[in-house]
Amino acid sequence: MPMISSPFRNLARHPVRSGLALAGIAVTTAMLLDMVLLAGGIERSFERMLMGRGFQIRISPKGTLPFDTEATIPGTGNLIRSILADSSIVQAGPVLGTSVYARRGDTLLTLFGYGIDPAAQAQYQLEAGADLTPGDTTGLLLSGPAARLIGAGLGDSVTLVGRLDPQMAAAAIQHRLVVRGMARWLYDYRGQPSVGAVVPVMQDLSHLRAQDRVSAVVLRVRSDAEIEQTSRRLQRRFPMLEINSVANLVVHFRERLVYFRQLSYILGSISLIVTVLLVSTLMTITVNERLGEIATLRAIGVARTSIVRGIMAEGAALTLIGGVLGVGLGTVTARYLDRILTSFPGLPAAISFFVPNPASLGVAAGVLLATGVIAGAYPAFIAARAPIAATLRTEAT
C-alpha cells in the first residue's frame, strides 16, 4: 500500500532534519553497540584465552587463582601422576611462572620465565623455529619482545640467570640455553619479554626444583560434559589445592569485573533512552506538521490502524537507517577504544574489551528496532486521535 511503503520517502521530505536525526541515532546506536560489546566482551575474551589450548581445568595453590600470586604447588610430579590416574583426565600440563634474567655483557635483563611441559603445550603457540621436546634441558623459546630485548634469534645461545635465593644466600644459578623457537605466550601483556624452558630448568633457576614446585597445572578433560564433575571430584581429592574449571574462573572473573557490566548497562540504557527521545521528538514534529494530511487521510477513509502503522513504520525506518550507520561507527570506535584499554600495563594482549557476540548483537538490534517503533507510538497515537473536521478547519486557516 502506498502509505505503508512510503516511510523512506517521507523521511526524504526534510533531508537536513532527517539527516541530523539519523546522525544522532547513529551516535546513540554506536554507543549502544559498544556497550553491548563491552558488557560481556572481556569475559568472552578471557574465556577464549583460557580455552585457547583446550585445557578446561586449572589447579593452583589454595586460595589463589592461576598466576594470581607467587604461591606454588609442591610435589608436582606425584600430583600429576595421581591426577592422570583419573580416567576423565586426558592430559596434564605443569606451568611455572617466574622472574629470570638474561645476561648480556655485564647487564642482566629482566624477563618473565615460563616453565613448560612441551608435551602439553598449554601456554603458548609456536610461531617460528622448532618446539622444545620434553627432555630438552638446553632449549629455549623466546617471545618476540624478549628476542628484541636480548638481541637473540633462532640458534643463538642465551645465558639465563635465576634469582638469588635470599634464604640460601646462594649464588645465582645460570643456564646456557639455545634458542629453538619463537613463541607467542597466551597470557603475555603487550610487549612482555618472555622466555620458556622445560619445567626442570625453570625450577632450577627459581630454586623450586627440590620441592618440584609449579605455579599451576592445567588439565584436559575427555569431554565437556565431564568438566564440572571432574573438577568437583578432584577438589574433594585435593582439598589443599584450588581446582577450577574455566567456566568457574570466568565466574570469578565476572565477579571482579561487575562494575564493567554495570557501566555498560547504564550507558547502553542511556543511549536507548536518547534514541527514544530523538525518534519520538522527530516523529512528533513530523506528525504535527502533517496533521492536515493525516486528517485528510482519515476523512477519505484511511483507518486509524493504517495511520498508526505508517507512522510507526517511519520511526522504525529512521531507527533502521540510523542503526546501520551506527553499527559502522560503533565498530570503528570499539576498535579505537579497545586499543586504548588493552594498552593498560599488565593486561594480557589476548584480552579484548569489545568482543562481538552474535546473540547479544541480535538482541541489541531487536531492542533498537523496537525502540524506534515504540518511539513512533506516541506521535502515531496523536495523529490517529486528531479530530478530523477540527484539524481540517485549523489547516484551512
Partner: protein
Amino acid sequence: MSGPARLCGPTLVASVRDLRKDYPMNGETVHALRGVSLEIHQGDYAAVVGPSGCGKSTLLQLLGGIDTPSSGSVELLGTRLETMRDRELTRLRLTRIGFVFQRFHLLPVLSARENVELPMAEAGVSRVERRARARQLLAYVGLEDRADHRATQLSGGEMQRVAIARALANHPVLILADEPTGELDAATGRGILDLFQRLAGDGVTLVVVTHDERLAAEAGRVIHMLDGCITDDVPRSAFRVPHSEATVDARGPGSGGDSPPSNAELGTRNAER
C-alpha cells in the same frame, strides 16, 4: 450509474434532519448549524452557497461523517451515521463517500497514480486492479500523461483533478467538495467546473460548497445558507440528471468511454466491500 456505486431502488442518497452543531469558542457557544434539514437524491448536483461562517463546510463535514452533530441526524443510504462506530464510519467514508478539498490535500511524496490508488489500497483492492482503475480515472480527469509525477510536480488545477480522481476511486455514492475552485485561478477553476459538469452529466451525486458563482450557476440545485440555516433550496431541473436515467444506465448520458470507469469494468462490485 457510472463510477460511483449503482443504486437499485431508493434514490435518496442522504438526508439530514434538524441538524445542529455548536462549537465552544472563547468560552461562548457558536451555533454553526441551527436545525438544518435536507435531502440529497441520486444524481443531484447541489451547490451550497452562502457567506463565510454560515455553516456550509460544517454541513458538508457532518454529511460526510467526519464530524458529529450536537443534535439531529444524518442518514446515508438509510444508515444513521451517529449510530455507527468509528471503524464503521471510516469504512463508510472509504467506500461510499468521495471528498474533494479546497487545498487538494494530496500526499506530496506519492505520485498522482499512487494518490489515486491510496483509497483503493486501503479498501483492499488488488494491486493490478487498483493500478488499472487509477489509470482509467486519471485518463477521465485528463491526466493520463501525468500519472507518475509527484503531487508536488503538478499545478494547482492538476492537483485538484487528481483529488477528484482519488474521490472517485472506490465508486462512492456521494461526492462532497469543499470550495474545490477556491485555490485556483479563474481559468483553471473553469476546468474543474467543467469536470464537475461532466461528473454530474455522468450521474455522479455531487454536493459542492462554493463561493464560485459560476459553479452555483451550473449546479442542478442551489442551497442557500445564512447564519446556520438553509434559507433557500432551488432545484434547477434543467441541470439535473434524471433519476431514472442514472439508475438504469450506470454509465449515465455521457457513457461514450470518457465517463468514470465503473465497478463492472474492473470486475469488482461494491457489494464485495
